[in-house]
């Protein structure tokens, strides 16, 4: 059994993003997905600080401090891209105009609850940013994360123990070991890495998992 690395996970997510989709890639791991979107397809990347048609990082020396993404990193604007204010930006999200949002997570429940904004540690300074808007806004919310924590705990869980970001909002989870579809009835395994059985996956997660019906 060989786990997917970060780039392989990003490439896997990119395969499910069709031409013409309006997409927001969250800060961190999801940002990598942009590197694997096919150059011959037009896909619109939105950044919630106010741009649509976001391009790659600029060449060294060409950075513009007033042209940044939601992670406050310098970016470029593609030809045909545009700028807008924050209320319009979040209307794109909350109004259901964005097709896909890809987010990282601390935990996801089998029915699609997402926890990705706060560890719940009493001494942590809370910060939410656009996480709650992103979670519930897009037509489809995908999560990209390692399936297990460093000490082997499953991040796909029956019920989130961390404070939730949104309820029943995640429809698909891409991990280094498997891809899951989530709905009100629980998690369905739609892909596994080579050499990993459904039984082993159930053992690792401690969850009852269904296997997708294959033709």
């Amino acid at each position: 059994m060989k786990k997917l690395d970060r780039d392989q996970m990003a490439a896997r997510v990119a395969r499910d993003i069709p031409e013409g989709a309006y997409v927001n890639l969250g800060i961190g791991l999801p940002t990598l997905v942009a590197n694997f979107l096919p150059a011959d397809k037009e896909i619109f990347l939105q950044s919630e600080n106010g741009l649509l048609g976001m391009g790659p990082a600029p060449a060294k020396g060409e950075e513009d401090p007033e042209l940044i993404n939601a992670g406050k990193q310098p970016v470029t604007l593609l030809t045909g891209g545009c700028f807008f204010h924050h209320a319009d930006s979040f209307a794109m999200m909350r109004g259901g105009h964005l097709d896909i949002c890809v987010l990282g997570a601390f935990q996801v429940s089998v029915t699609g609850d997402l926890a990705n904004w706060h560890t719940g540690a009493p001494d942590a300074i809370p910060a939410v940013g656009g996480a709650m808007d992103l979670a519930i806004g897009a037509k489809k919310t995908f999560v990209m994360m390692d399936l297990l924590t460093k000490d082997g705990q499953s991040k796909l869980v029956r019920q989130c123990s961390y404070p939730v970001t949104g309820l029943a909002c995640v429809s698909r989870v891409y991990t280094d070991l498997a891809v899951f579809d989530l709905d009100a009835d629980g998690a369905t395994v739609i892909e596994r890495v080579d050499g990993l059985s459904l039984e082993e996956l159930q053992h690792l997660t401690g969850l009852p998992l269904r296997a997708a019906l294959t033709a």
Binding site: G50, D64, K72, F83, H85, R94, P126, A127, D133
Partner: protein, 230 residues
């Protein structure tokens, strides 16, 4: 003749009073009106409530205002950053109050304030700790949280160009909160890179109509004036 242009940054913020609620534009440092904030620090108003997306970066702008201990409360979405050490220290010492608002709700509440609405029902935050104790309603099968509008006494924003009627255009992602904060404050003060003659801004391209802006100050001119008096 109506001329909203101010000669200096100092004059532009001279009536900000102790205890005022002040919106400050910007997402991180993009669009942050640094020079108006410097003028506000020099002016000395304290006990302020600040509305901004963040809680200061590094040593300048909002971070400097926090460091000078002029802020009683901050309303923002994302205070904790790698370079928010002045906020972090005040928060841990219990010297600043934090109202944490999801970013889209912050924008919508500001827009509601500027639009004369009594609040919004938003799906963002439903079922989370940030919605605890708030009114909720199910509308067409979806759950919403009621959130109040946000108003301010002053808004300090940064725009690219402006004219003497207060019409503004912005530059790239520095636009962010500028247009909606301009609507939601009793007195909106815009720091602009350049003041252009009336008519030079294409009316089809004006982003913030002058009705939302009370004062415009060109940072190049004001900087020169500051240098002369120094």
């Amino acid at each position: 003749m109506i001329d909203k242009c101010m000669a200096t940054l100092e004059a532009a913020v001279a009536d900000v009073f102790d205890g005022a609620r002040v919106m400050i534009g910007g997402f991180g440092t993009a669009g942050m009106p640094d020079q108006l904030i410097e003028a506000l620090i020099a002016h000395g108003a304290r006990d302020l409530t600040i509305v901004n997306n963040n809680a200061g970066n590094g040593e300048t702008g909002l971070a400097a205002l926090l460091k000078a201990k002029r802020v009683r409360k901050i309303v923002c979405s994302f205070p904790r950053q790698s370079d928010s050490h002045h906020f972090d220290a005040l928060y841990r010492a219990g010297e600043i109050e934090l109202e944490l608002v999801p970013q889209g709700n912050l924008a919508a509440r500001i827009q509601a304030g500027g639009s004369g609405l009594g609040g919004i029902f938003t799906p963002t935050g439903y079922g989370t700790t940030l919605a605890e104790g708030k009114e909720t309603r199910r509308i067409d099968g979806r759950d919403y949280v009621f959130e109040l509008p946000i108003h301010a006494d002053f808004a300090l924003i940064k725009a690219h160009r402006g004219d003497r009627w207060g019409n503004l255009v912005y530059r790239k992602t520095a636009r962010n909160f500028g247009p909606i904060m301009a609507m939601a404050a009793k007195t909106t003060i815009a720091q602009v890179g350049e003041i252009v003659p009336l008519g030079e801004l294409d009316p089809e391209h004006i982003v913030t109509p002058g009705i939302f802006v009370q004062r415009v100050v060109a940072t190049s001119i004001a900087t020169a004036a500051t240098a002369r008096t120094a």
